[in-house]
């Protein structure tokens, strides 16, 4: 098959990567009236907890938690000028969050949060996760942690990696009124994995059976926590209906990723993107990109090219190692698609610290692409690699998203900034 015979698409912007950053970039570009193509494998959205972090910890080595993420941002920008956040301002970040949560609301995924303040949710090991915007299903946990009413944590026989006893006992340190109960899944039917359970709970009959089985355990309980299995495609309805059946607020606790929380995002994205006119190549990779006079020619496919996309601009949102945006060979880290230089520790012996939970974090996590203030990746000589090429999300150098709790915010804010810059140049 010759290149000429491949289906060809001409778009303004090619977004490479279907994680949060890629999806956000595509959604925001469409909002700005750009024509967009999007390619990537199931991506990191399946692995997402659904929580939208902004910034909760700084400095990492002290493990200092911040209630006000914007105050933390100011401190971060001062201490770490190389951090991608240091290139962004508060209005831009707030606009990015506003635009993205509005988009999520349109596709059926409601988000809540405090103005200028981090929220708290429970994790499956009973710790508190500090985050900025919370899916509706987990939102009640914030009030629960703050007011600690008598509450009940529920789990189901067979559901692995989720123990209500563990959560109730571990979180009991700061939330003394937690009780827990393990029930057979209503009907006892689906395979003991979160996805089938979530699908089953989209049926009202299953919810009624669940409510009935729960009723003996509800006396005096003002709140009920569940594993995050309250629906995949109809979470809004599932949550409201269950809350009404039980007569109490209900909240979800995320399960170990990849989980239903990520599946919701993925399912909603995959439905919404084509509806909004995005040329989507899901489960496809960008195999190669050639820079041309006024843009880029991208070969899209799996093992061989199946389509060609010509785009004026490219947003590289391929993630880090897990997303294959960066490849960590024994001799060093490379960026495989464009061959961009990767800022990284001098030797592999400096990649990681001796202890996994070392408070300072691992240096390799700060490796990544260096960009200018417009998020255009740079060659080693400090010149932008290509005029229309942007890098967004976790592939950037200078952050430690797992320790700083800033992964989603980084994705949204840099995607927003890159799209605004590209759209503004037109």
């Amino acid at each position: 098959m010759t290149v000429q015979s491949l289906p060809r698409h001409d778009v303004d912007l090619m977004v490479i990567g279907t994680g949060l950053a890629g999806m956000a970039a595509a959604a925001m570009a469409v909002r700005r009236g750009l024509s967009v193509a999007l390619a990537g494998t199931s991506g990191e959205s399946v692995y997402a907890s659904g929580l939208l972090d902004l910034l909760a910890v700084h400095p990492v080595k002290d493990g200092r938690l911040w209630d006000d993420p914007f105050a933390a941002l100011a401190a971060l920008a001062a201490d770490e000028p190389g951090h991608p956040y240091a290139r962004l301002d508060r209005p831009g970040i707030e606009a990015a969050f506003a635009a993205f949560t509005a988009f999520l609301g349109e596709i059926g995924l409601d988000y809540h949060g405090h103005d200028g303040k981090n929220a708290m949710v429970l994790t499956p090991v009973g710790t508190i996760k500090h985050t900025y915007r919370v899916p509706a299903g987990m939102w009640a946990a914030d009030a629960g942690i703050r007011t600690t009413p008598p509450a009940l944590i529920v789990d189901f026989y067979g559901l692995k990696g989720f123990s209500s006893a563990q959560i109730a006992q571990t979180a009991g340190v700061f939330w003394p009124g937690l009780a827990h109960v393990r029930l057979p899944f209503p009907g006892g039917r689906p395979a003991p994995y979160p996805e089938p359970m979530a699908l089953a709970l989209e049926s009202h009959k299953t919810r009624q059976e669940l409510a009935k089985a729960l009723s003996p355990h509800l006396r005096g309980r003002e709140m009920v926590g569940f594993p995050a299995v309250l629906g995949i495609y109809r979470t809004r309805e599932t949550l409201a209906a269950l809350s009404e059946l039980l007569g109490t607020p209900v909240f979800e606790i995320p399960t170990i990723p990849p989980a239903v929380t990520g599946l919701r995002l993925k399912a909603a994205f995959e439905e919404a993107m084509p509806e909004r006119g995005v040329v989507t190549f899901f489960q496809k990779l960008v195999l190669g990109v050639r820079a041309e006079a006024d843009g880029f020619a991208c070969d899209v496919g799996w093992s061989s090219a199946e389509a060609q996309v010509r785009a004026r601009g490219v947003i590289l949102a391929t993630g880090r190692f897990f997303g294959k945006g960066l490849v960590p060979h024994r001799k060093g880290v490379i960026e495989p698609l464009f061959g961009l230089p990767v800022v990284q520790p001098a030797a592999r012996s400096q990649w990681h610290r001796d202890r996994m939970f070392d408070p300072a974090g691992h240096p390799i996590n700060r490796a990544g692409l260096m960009t200018d203030d417009r998020f255009r990746p740079l060659w080693a000589d400090g010149q932008p690699a290509f005029d229309g090429l942007y890098a967004v999300g976790s592939i950037l150098a200078g952050h430690d998203w797992t320790r700083q709790k800033c992964g989603a915010g980084l994705a949204l804010a840099t995607a927003y900034a890159a799209v605004e810059d590209f759209a503004g140049r037109r």
């Binding site: 494998t41 199931s42 991506g43 399946v46 692995y47 009907g187 039917r189 689906p190 395979a191 003991p192 994995y193 979160p194 996805e195 089938p196 699908l199 089953a200 049926s203 990723p257 990849p258 599946l263 489960q283 897990f322």
Partner: protein, 579 residues
């Protein structure tokens, strides 16, 4: 009673007896063809009961059309076969019918109903040659197709060629006989003595000269000197011939096959004389009588069974394969007999590639039907190997119905395959997947112990199971299980999703592929490839599942060949779908 009469009566008796026996099996079919819960013997009664008068009246025009178009004109061959097939079979059918009714049965049909009938008079002489030529043409096409069309050659068996040879012998000996008679001076002298009893030798010579010139006979020089052939003598011979011969003998030219043949024969075989004619007569008669006696026992029986089958299906023309009624056993029994082993079904079979890969003939419908015929004939007396092959055929079949649609004999093959699977299961050879999944962990563990340790490198084997690189990049995220549609079924029993895709991958990674074969889920996988498409690391999950199934198959085949499976108390587990 003459020898001929004795043989004739014996052959007739065999034919009749055989036909009655075969037809009795339609009415009392083997129980393998029964509809569960109903006695197979009631099929005909049920069929008749179902025929109310209004229904019969409404069916009558359709049946008439079926009879005229499908059976007499053989239109089904044009519709479902090809032009060549129709030419081939219609020539055979029409030619053979003509010969049978007007030539073989001349004393019962031609003579009583056509006054002045003489076999040597036109149009009969011409027609006989025409019919014979049609059969010969059909035979020629059939033979060429069987020999040179690859798909047909694949399914052609001894019986197919034997049948062609038998018909060919009948036709060849018939033409030979006629040609030999024409060329035979002995026959001439006998006829002349009977119908032109003249003492005038010159007149006889004139007649000889005329027949030698016009009829191509070859006379010995002593009875027809060369110099005797002059125009005057010929003219005289013609007069005598018109007077004495023509009332019974058309000019030999209308015997457009035999006449040229006679010239050849006369040159080549003249010395054989009367002995040749007699020999050919016996050959012709015996081959005909043999065909008669063999009719109920070989594929020639389709002459009777196929029209019956077509008419029976004409009663219920819908492709209602999935709803066998009370009368189904009758239709099935007739259907089994109606197969002409023409091979069309196998040419169109969806799983022909599987046959090409695996080589088990029973994968092809035409061959599976032969096995099934044997099965229905002997009630499960097939050898275990034959049963296994039969079961494998059933397993590979996708029930796509193509064979049923293309069958020129209108056999409801789809229904037969469903029955065959049920029957194979009853005899302990259910579909491969059912059989393989019926083996519990104990069996697989025993088989695993017997196995030689595999060389777990790519160099030693291209299989994914043996290659450590297959799972090198697995990060244990279990997305493969999360997206599996089987695991999302709302009411799937736990036993059916006992080992998940990622667990199977882990078992293989740990070198426990042999043990993983006991997983019920392995046989519930729909091979939708979602797992493989969604794996973030590009692991070929579904391909591995395929390899596991193939491994199970090959292990069980090998164990069965070695006679090991019988020792292991392989008790089928309750699987729900096993009968």
């Amino acid at each position: 009673m003459s020898l001929f009469a004795v043989i004739l009566w014996i052959c007739l008796a065999v034919c009749l007896g055989g036909t009655v026996w075969r037809m009795a099996r339609w009415l009392l079919p083997d129980r393998s063809l029964a509809v569960p819960g109903l006695p197979p013997s009631g099929a005909l009664a049920a069929l008749l009961r179902s025929l109310s008068w209004p229904k019969a009246l409404s069916a009558a025009p359709r049946m008439a059309f079926t009879f005229l178009f499908d059976i007499l004109f053989q239109g089904h061959l044009l519709q479902r076969g090809s032009l060549w097939r129709w030419v081939m079979h219609f020539s055979l059918f029409a030619g053979f019918s003509g010969l049978f009714f007007f030539h073989a049965l001349e004393n019962f049909i031609s003579r009583p109903f056509f006054p002045g009938y003489e076999p040597t008079l036109d149009p009969w002489q011409f027609l006989r040659n025409l019919f014979g030529a049609m059969v010969a043409l059909g035979l020629g096409i059939a033979l060429c197709r069987r020999l040179f069309v690859r798909d047909l050659r694949r399914t052609s068996r001894f019986e197919d060629f034997f049948t062609l040879a038998l018909i060919g012998l009948i036709i060849a000996s018939g033409f030979g006989l006629e040609g030999a008679k024409m060329a035979s001076p002995a026959a001439f002298e006998r006829m002349a003595a009977d119908y032109y009893p003249t003492p005038d030798a010159a007149d006889l010579t004139a007649l000889r000269a005329y027949w030698a010139t016009e009829g191509g006979m070859v006379f010995p020089v002593e009875s027809l000197p060369r110099e005797a052939v002059t125009p005057e003598i010929l003219e005289k011979g013609r007069e005598i011939s018109e007077m004495s011969c023509a009332p019974c003998h058309s000019p030999p030219g209308s015997a457009f096959v035999s006449a040229p043949l006679s010239r050849v024969l006369s040159r080549v075989l003249a010395p054989a004389g009367a002995g040749l004619t007699d020999g050919l007569w016996w050959l012709h008669v015996l081959s005909c009588l043999f065909a008669l006696a063999w009719l109920p026992f070989g594929k020639l029986f389709h002459i009777l069974s196929t029209p019956v089958g077509i008419l029976l299906r004409g009663l219920d023309p819908g492709e209602a394969a999935a709803r066998p009624g009370m009368a189904a056993p009758l239709a099935r029994a007739v259907g089994l007999d109606a197969c002409t082993h023409c091979g069309i079904c196998s040419r169109h079979c969806s799983v022909l590639p599987s046959f090409l890969a695996l080589g088990t003939p029973e994968i092809l419908p035409s061959e599976k039907l032969l096995s099934m015929r044997r099965l229905a004939g002997k009630s499960g007396k097939l050898t275990p190997a034959a049963l296994a092959a039969f079961s494998e055929g059933g397993f590979v079949c996708t029930e796509c119905m193509r064979c049923t649609v293309v069958c020129p004999s209108r056999i409801n093959l789809q229904d037969l395959w469903l029955v065959s699977k049920r029957e194979a299961a009853r005899l302990g050879h259910p579909e491969l997947a059912v059989r393989l999944r019926s083996y519990g962990p104990g069996v697989w563990e025993t088989l695993a112990r017997r196995a030689r340790p595999v060389a777990r490198t790519l160099a030693a084997s291209p299989s994914l199971l043996d290659n450590p690189e297959t799972f090198a990049c697995c990060v244990q995220c279990s997305v493969c299980t999360g997206v599996c549609p089987i695991f999302r079924l709302p009411d799937i029993p736990a036993a059916e999703v006992d080992v998940s895709p990622h667990q199977l991958m882990n078992l293989v990674r740990m070198g426990l592929a042999d043990h993983a074969l006991s997983a019920n889920f392995l046989w519930n996988c729909t091979t939708c490839y979602k797992c493989q498409e969604h794996c973030p690391q590009g692991i070929r999950v579904a391909d591995v599942l395929y390899e596991l199934r193939n491994l199970a198959h090959s292990k069980v085949e090998a164990a069965a060949r070695a006679g090991l499976l019988d020792d292991m108390a392989a008790r089928p587990q309750a699987t729900g779908d096993a009968p």
